[in-house]
Every structure is written in C-alpha cells, then in structure tokens.
C-alpha cells in the first residue's frame, strides 16, 4: 500500500499550485505544466545540476537557484521566466553553441534535438561569443552506435543512465574545464569497450546528436528520454506506466 505524501502550496509566477513536500521545484513544475528549461535533468536519474538552464528566482532570495536541485518549501514563490532568467539562459545556450561544433542543418538530430528546441524556446538567434571550433574526432568504432564529441554538451545524462540504470558505468568525464570530454572505459575507443552491454540507454537519453545509431542520416535520429524515465520509475517503485505519463 502506498504512503500518502504530504502536500504544500507554492506559487509559480504568482499562480498557486499544490506540490509534494518531498519533491524538487522542477518536479513540482513538471507536474503542474509549468515550463522550466533544462538540458541535463532527466526524471529518474540522479540530479546533476550542471547545465544551469533551470535556474529560477525565488522571492526574498537574492541568488538564482537550480530548480532541479532545489527542494520545495511551503509558501515559496517561484519565478521561472523573468528578464534576468531569460538573459541568463540565452547566455548559457550561446556558450554551449560556441563551445562545440553544433551545425543543426547537417546534424543527425536536426528537428529532434533538445539543444535546438531550447535555443528556439529561449529565443537564442545569435551567438555573441567567438566559436571555439574545436577539432574533435568522431568515434564510430562501436558496431551499433556513434559518438560525436563535437555535439556533446557534457550534460552527463549518458554517464548517469549507464551507471544508475544499466549498472555498467561505461561513460565518464575526463579532464577539466574547456578540455573536459566524455570517455568510454579508460579512454579506449567505444568499440573496444569491455564494459558496454550495447543496451543503447545512453543513445536514448542523449539530448543532442552526440550519440546516435550507426547508419543514421541527417535528421533521422530520434531519442527516447521518456523510456529511460519509465525504466527508472519501474525499478524504483515497481510501477510500469504509460510512456506518455512519464517524461
């Protein structure tokens, strides 16, 4: 028998909603159909709080807070779409585009990309920073999948899903700062990985065209983040839900 969860009242953009006392602001927002942008958050995976797209403003709190990592507090008044937040999110997106090699027109995920969708949602139509245009080699050594670091935004979804759901921990982040890069095993080619189970969860959860299926042409890649959330819920609560109910 399920325990009843305590509820509290909070406000999103001056509209009061009901939230569970033990959930995060992001979870409360998604249940109440309040849009908060995010690139690294996936329901069912641990919270990383790295992309900083989900920053929110809270009344009487001078600091911006990440919605994914901020617990609900009774009576809290949350603002999700202010001029300050819009400027902040645009700047993050511009930095992401300037950091890698994101050329939507020739990307396998064109039309099915969370980074692209986020740029549209946040009105990012220019990049004010110089492009770094890094030279990064594509790893197509895996028989089923391709890793293109040019399109990676280091959200670590693949790292977390592989570790927390599949239990293989093939993926990790090597190096620091601007040199940070995803690696498989101990920086061996993906195709040589002895820990990869070929399950494809990392590909399903990738928000961009960085991880794709072999043989995928431009615009053909479709990810399945909801499948990962569904698996996570099934594991943790023993509930097998309608895919549409978990996203």
């Amino acid at each position: 028998m399920r325990e009843l969860r305590t509820t509290v009242t909070i406000a999103f953009n001056d509209v009061e909603v009901e939230a569970f006392a033990d959930e995060t602001v992001m979870q409360a927002a998604r249940r109440n159909d309040v849009f908060i942008p995010s690139l690294c958050y996936v329901e069912g995976l641990s919270v990383w709080g790295g992309c900083r797209m989900c920053m929110i403003e809270i009344e009487e709190d001078r600091r911006l807070r990440p919605a994914c990592a901020t617990p609900v507090n009774p009576e809290m008044e949350v603002y999700t779409d202010t001029p300050k937040l819009r400027a902040h999110r645009k700047a993050i997106l511009e930095l992401l585009f300037a950091e890698g090699n994101h050329v939507c027109a020739v990307c396998v995920s064109n039309g099915n990309c969370e980074l692209q969708d986020m740029a549209v949602a946040c009105g990012m139509d220019h990049v004010r920073y110089d492009y770094r245009s890094p030279r990064r080699a594509v790893d197509a050594s895996h028989p089923k999948y391709v890793f293109d670091p040019n399109r990676c935004i280091l959200c670590t979804r693949c790292v977390r899903v592989c570790d927390e759901i599949e239990g293989a921990h093939v993926w990790d982040v090597a190096s620091h700062g601007a040199d940070a890069v995803l690696i498989t095993d101990l920086a061996t080619p993906w195709g040589d990985s002895t820990s990869c189970t070929w399950c494809g969860k990392c590909v399903a959860v990738c928000p961009t065209g960085s991880l794709s299926y072999q043989g995928t042409a431009v615009g053909e890649m479709e990810h399945s983040v909801s499948m990962i959330s569904r698996l996570a819920v099934a594991r943790s609560r023993g509930e097998w839900l309608d895919p549409e109910a978990v996203s």
Binding site: A105, V106, V108, A137, V138, A140, A217, V218, G219
Partner: protein, 479 residues
C-alpha cells in the same frame, strides 16, 4: 604597351568570378582568362565525418543543384554499403533528378540567359535581367518561373524540401511517394511540358539571328564526357562514362565511374581556385592540359547519347543535330541542348509516374560498411559530378575528392572567352555590349562556381584589359 580589360564580377552566373583580357601592342587580343575567385573547401572539412551524413553535408555546396550532390553522395553511400538499392528508390531518385534538371535549366534559360537572347546583347544593362524580361515579355517570364517552380515542387514532394532536401540517403530514399503526390505531379507535368515545347519553338525561331554567336561562342573542337547506358539513350543518373570527340568518334567508353581516374586528370592554375580536369590519355607528362580539354553538361550529354529515348525530345534532337551539322561543337548550343533536356525530362518523368510501382513502399536498403574506397557519379544539370570517398572501417571519411561539372568546363570556358574577345574586341575602346557577350559566353555553360571550388580556392566576375607591361587599362566590375 600592354592593355588589360577586367570584367569583375561576371554577372548572372552562380558564384564569383572575373575575366581578364590582355591586348598586345596593336590593340588585338593576345589572351583571355576566366578566374574563379571564391573558395569553398568541402574536400577538407568533410574529412572525419561519417559517410551517412555526406549527402546532406555535401548538398550544402549549392543552393541551385543540391540534388546533384545528394545523388552522387548517396550513390557513394550505396557503394560503401555494397548494396543494390530497391528499384523504386532508383525510380524516385531519377524523378528527383529530372525535377532538378528542369528547375536548374529553367533558371539558366529564362532567368539568366533569356534577357540576353530576347532583350539583346546591347540593351540597357539595368534592364537586361529577369525583371526587364518581366516588363517586356511578362507571359514568357511567368511561364519560365512556373517551370522552375514545377521542378522545385517535384524535389520537395519526393525528397522533403526544395533546397537541401533531407530525403535522399545512402541506401535509397527516406519516404515512399504517395498516390496523391503522384497524381498532382502528373497534372502539373502538362503545363511544364507545354512550356518546354514553346521555349524550344521560341529558341529555334531566333537561332538563325545568332549566326555570329553560334560561330564565335566557344565553337571549337573538344572532347565531350557524359554518362551513357547500354541502350545508347540519354542518361542522367547511372551507367558508365563515355567520351566522344567533335567528329562523334568514341574515344573512351564503358569506363566504370569508379575508374574515372583512368581517363580524367586534374590540373591546378595559379590564377583561379577552379581546378582544370582534362582527358588523361591526350596529355603527356608536363604537357598543357588544354590538349585534353573536354566539355560536360547538356551539350556533351546530347553528343554522347545516340537518342533521347522519348518521342518529342528525339524529334527535337534530330532538328538540333541537323542545325549543328552533326556533333554540336558550339557552346552557344548549350542553351538549345538545355531546352531539349527539359522536354526530355518531362517525358521521362511522365513515364516514371505512369509506372504502378512508383508508390511502392520498398525504397531503402540498409547495411553496414562493406567497402572503403567508393565513387558516386551522377549527371548534374551542368555535367558529370563525381564524389570519391575513402572511409575507414567505421564509415568515417579519411579522404575525399569532388570533381564538379563546372570545373570540367573550366578549360573550354577559358577558350570560349578568348574566342569571343578575339571576335569582337579590336582596340582598347570596348563597348559594354561586347563585355556582355564575353560574360554570356560564360553563361552559356551555366557555371556554378560556388559548387566547384573545393581543393583550395572563388565567382563574382570582373573583366580586365591589361597592357603588355601589366598595366590595367580598364576594368569592368559589376554586382
């Protein structure tokens, strides 16, 4: 004293280029060069990308003929997989290419060249464009624009978008054709064919007025290269390479596209980003590649084939050959050949659309990487297009070579501007209308310079008049 005229940029072409005309002490033309002044570099930055992305990536080479790159690249992708793609995928690719030939040729004839042909070489430059044509010949301009729109619509209907369509992929086509699309295209074909027929009547009606242009717009012996099939029919998508000379003698035949290097060499020139391909067997070591000059495109395709394979276009081809005296060697006939190809394209398309299997859902083959050195060839509107890829065992490109149609016409374009300059220029005072004829000599080839400069290399056009001592006496620069 050396005189030099510079036309910069050459207008109503796709890309950026200039023309330099050198005069000797007596004021006669001593040399004339066509320089391509833009650089694209696809051969460099495509390295390291998966072969599956190449059709869409290389299609960005051009906004006029992206389908040509999509097809050549997708065919190279087919070869990487080592598969025979479904029959209907071939049929749909052919229909898309016919739509591409129609729209590109319509652009070349109605938008870019008709102003010269119908308004006159010496007409007011400000009006000598498609807008001037609209003012003088509104119905003709409208129908030309609608013809191009039809071709673009074919591409969009089958491949998903008019420009840079995503639907042509290694292994076939992304989506089958619906019955609704098939019926719509069949309906629209009726007006397209009528426009093609009327344009041919118009052109043949004025051709006799251009006797001097026929004689001086690139009228010389050269070789001609095109794709050919076993039936001797006009080919635009598949088959083998065939080369004929100006007498119609076959100098190379049944050359597999993958063996193109056995007959085609590539030379670079210091004054142009455009490579100069040549017929290898005709050029010895350290010899000028001019000896191996060949032409590609509509003129060459009509010289290479025995017949068009469709009734109305075959009738038009017979009259064309009669007017040309057999093999057409004047580049002025490019316009004529283009119109016959539009007509043939509408007829061929009608045949494909009448096939009951054209809506078959089996349009794609899938496989892993099975070959590592491949060549994809297709006939672009401007001529034979080669994509050669080297891929590693994972399908990532390690090297690449593209031979673009316009590049193959580089040597003949240079000869053409020289011939026109010698025909019309006599002394340093050069009327604007003469410069326009020189540009029109280039336009006859419908060059696409943005497509063709990848090795490391640029097209607005300039004409310079240069004195023997190098002094630039006059320079014409437009655009």
């Amino acid at each position: 004293m050396k005189n030099m005229v510079v036309i910069d940029p050459v207008t109503r072409i796709e890309g950026h280029a200039k023309i330099t005309i050198a005069l000797d002490d007596t004021g006669s033309v001593s040399d004339c060069r066509f320089h391509v002044t833009e650089f694209r570099g696809f051969e460099e930055f495509c390295k390291g990308r998966p072969v599956w992305e190449m059709p869409s990536l290389t299609a960005r080479t051009c906004g006029i003929c992206p389908v040509s790159h999509l097809l050549a690249s997708a065919k190279a992708g087919d070869a990487v997989m080592g598969v025979t793609i479904p029959d209907n995928a071939v049929r749909l690719r052919r229909i898309v290419n016919l739509g591409q030939i129609i729209q590109s040729h319509a652009l070349s004839f109605f938008h870019l060249s008709a102003p010269d042909l119908l308004l006159g070489w010496d007409s007011e430059p400000a009006d000598r464009n498609v807008f001037g044509l609209m003012a003088e010949e509104p119905e003709l301009a409208r129908r030309g624009i609608m013809l191009r729109s039809f071709g673009q619509g074919v591409i969009e209907s089958i491949a998903g978008r008019k420009v840079h369509a995503p639907g042509i992929l290694p292994g076939g086509i992304a989506e089958p054709m619906t019955e609704e699309t098939r019926e719509r295209l069949r309906e629209n074909l009726v007006e397209a064919r009528k426009t093609a027929e009327d344009a041919l009547v118009l052109f043949t009606g004025i051709l006799d007025d251009y006797e001097r242009e026929v004689r001086a717009f690139g009228s010389f012996s050269s070789l001609f290269l095109g794709l050919a099939n076993d039936d001797g029919l006009w080919e635009h998508y598949d088959g083998h390479l065939k080369m004929v000379d100006s007498e119609g003698t076959i100098v190379a035949d049944r050359v597999a596209p993958a063996d193109y290097r056995s007959i085609i060499g590539e030379a670079g020139r210091r004054d142009s980003y455009l490579k100069s391909p040549y017929f290898k067997p005709s050029v010895g070591p350290d010899e000028d590649p001019l000896a191996g000059m060949y032409r590609v495109g509509p003129l060459a395709r009509l010289n290479v084939c025995e017949r068009m394979g469709v009734p109305a276009a075959d009738e038009a081809l017979a009259e064309y050959r009669e007017r040309a005296g057999g093999v057409a060697t004047s580049s002025f006939f490019y316009h004529y050949a283009r119109l016959i190809e539009i007509l043939a394209a509408t007829e061929r398309m009608a045949d494909h659309l009448a096939n009951d299997d054209v809506t078959s859902s089996h349009v794609r083959a899938r496989a892993a990487v099975n070959a590592h050195h491949v060549v994809g060839v297709s006939e672009a509107p401007r001529g034979t297009l080669f994509h050669e890829y080297l891929v590693d065992e994972h399908g990532v490109l390690t090297d690449m070579n593209m031979i673009i149609a316009t590049g193959q016409n580089n040597l003949p374009m240079n000869e053409t501007v020289l011939q026109i300059a010698r025909e019309w220029i006599d002394g340093p005072a050069i009327p604007e209308g003469i410069l326009n004829r020189i540009e029109a000599g280039i336009r006859a080839y419908d060059p696409c310079l943005s497509c063709s400069t990848h090795a490391i290399g640029m097209m607005p056009l300039i004409v310079s008049l240069v004195a023997p001592d190098g002094e630039v006496l006059s320079e014409v620069r437009r655009g």
